[in-house]
């Protein structure tokens, strides 16, 4: 499967995605503007709280081409962060006390400077999270030692596994992905990841393989733990339940399958003001592969940069100016506020 970008698909153009999102708003009074909902909740303009996470997207290149990918990542994407830009991130980090750097992609490990970057983050005494797609570990011998490398730097590993059944996982992430993910999970377990008392954290990300919302995180976690242990002798720490946001390839799936409007209605109907108050953009700064600044990785993929009064590039990082910005919102934000809420850390309410 090719990325939307490589297919020259209309949805590869982010402005077209924004048009679709705004049309749904006009299509019926049933889909109120997200800004209106936030206003009702007393949250407009949406302001940052304390900056707790620097999330860096080190490139769109990936060994997989998952159907729901909000990054439109894949082997055919060449956008990748340079070491010079990573250095700018480190310079900014050093000026702050931000405790956590969250590395995402694509498959972040495919960036040739990935390991260097992790070492530098460690040297600054900050915690690294890596959003590891699992299959990268077994994709090529040069990645087989990633579990040891992660362990050495106390990296917290957060990995996608949309289901404990092979069929549902493969339907979303590609043929054979489940089997390779289990192999990788065993390699992570073997060095202590997910094993109680090791201090090495391995969290799994659940997201629905289709046009429905995730169920309760605790219930799903219990099911995943039982099934993965019983059937595959795999252990992990926490399950993070994440809602698919209606953008990029997931938007394409929704439109193709005729589920777009009903999915948006579901998200709107499930709006939860508590989740709205806890959206992750309030405590996150998202940095693109080219150093541009965004409120979150979703806005990044929609090319919605931080508000104009804030610095636009990590080179001009200024914590105070960023703190004064209003977060840029749009209709896709309903994905973060539905039900128990959704963020890169799972449920929020």
């Amino acid at each position: 499967m090719k990325s939307l970008h490589a297919q020259h698909h209309a949805l590869a153009d982010t402005s077209y995605q924004l048009t679709v999102l705004s049309e749904a708003e006009a299509a019926g009074a049933r889909l109120p503007a997200f800004a209106h909902k936030l206003h009702e909740s007393g949250l407009l303009p949406l302001r940052p709280t304390e900056l707790a996470v620097m999330q860096v997207n080190v490139g769109k290149m990936c060994n997989q081409t998952c159907r729901h990918c909000h990054v439109d990542a894949g082997p055919d994407r060449t956008e990748i962060m340079t070491r010079a830009t990573m250095q700018l991130c480190l310079d900014a980090l050093a000026q702050t006390t931000i405790p956590v750097v969250d590395l995402t992609g694509g498959a972040p490990e495919m960036n040739p400077d990935f390991r260097w970057f992790v070492e530098q983050i460690s040297a600054l005494g900050r915690q690294t999270i890596v959003r590891c797609n699992l299959t990268i570990i077994v994709a090529n011998p040069k990645y087989h030692d990633l579990p040891e490398f992660f362990a050495q730097h106390g990296v917290r590993v957060v990995s996608s596994l949309p289901h404990f059944s092979a069929a549902r996982t493969d339907a979303q992430r590609g043929e054979g992905v489940f089997g390779r993910s289990i192999r990788a999970l065993r390699m992570l377990n073997a060095v202590g990841y997910g094993v109680e008392g090791s201090g090495l954290l391995l969290d799994l990300v659940y997201n629905p393989s289709g046009a429905f919302l995730p169920g309760r995180q605790v219930g799903l976690e219990r099911e995943f733990k039982q099934r993965l242990l019983r059937e595959h002798e795999v252990v992990f720490n926490s399950l993070l339940a994440i809602t698919n946001l209606p953008i990029s390839r997931f938007m394409e799936y929704l439109l193709e399958s005729g589920n777009y409007e009903s999915y948006m209605q579901k998200l709107v109907a499930a709006y939860n003001p508590v989740a709205a108050a806890n959206v992750m953009c309030r405590s996150t700064l998202s940095i693109g592969w080219d150093g541009q600044l965004y409120d979150c990785d979703f806005n990044q993929q929609l090319a919605l940069n931080v508000a104009k009064n804030a610095p636009q590039h990590i080179r001009f990082f200024d914590a105070t100016a960023l703190q004064d910005r209003a977060i840029v919102i749009n209709q896709h934000c309903y994905g973060c506020t539905a039900g128990a809420g959704s963020s890169c850390g799972g449920a929020t309410a």
């Binding site: 289901h163 404990f164 059944s165 069929a167 549902r168 659940y206 629905p208 289709g210 429905f212 919302l213 995730p214 169920g215 309760r216 605790v218 219930g219 799903l220 219990r222 099911e223 995943f224």
Partner: protein, 112 residues
């Protein structure tokens, strides 16, 4: 205009409106309903699958729709959902079939 059929998918979302004409009983029913589906001795996923099976037994299109979604949300997969339906089918079929013992008894009674 809305399509006029006996079962309209849009009506499922109006289920809560049944409380309009009898608020007290409606409220009690929905409170009870909510309580029933909470995690307990059975997990939420198991309860969703039981509801899905019963929905097929009572052949309620609203419930089939609702508990297909609910089963997926609670983490059930296609195999579990189809097995749940087969449990309902087995019981419905078995319930019909077991009455044939009565038929056999009666036939034997009347026969030489």
């Amino acid at each position: 205009m809305e399509k006029s059929t006996y079962y309209n998918p849009a009506d499922l979302a109006k289920f809560g409106n049944v409380a309009d004409w009898q608020p007290e009983m409606g409220r009690k029913f929905f409170d009870y309903y909510g309580e029933v589906f909470k995690d307990g001795a059975l997990s939420e996923r198991e309860k969703a699958l039981i509801a899905l099976a019963v929905a097929h037994a009572v052949q309620c299109p609203y419930c089939i729709d609702a508990y297909t979604v609910d089963s997926l949300q609670k983490g059930a997969d296609e195999a579990q959902m189809m097995e749940a339906v087969h449990v309902a089918v087995a019981i419905k079929g078995g319930a019909a079939l077991v009455h044939s013992v009565q038929m056999m008894n009666k036939a034997k009674e009347l026969s030489m």
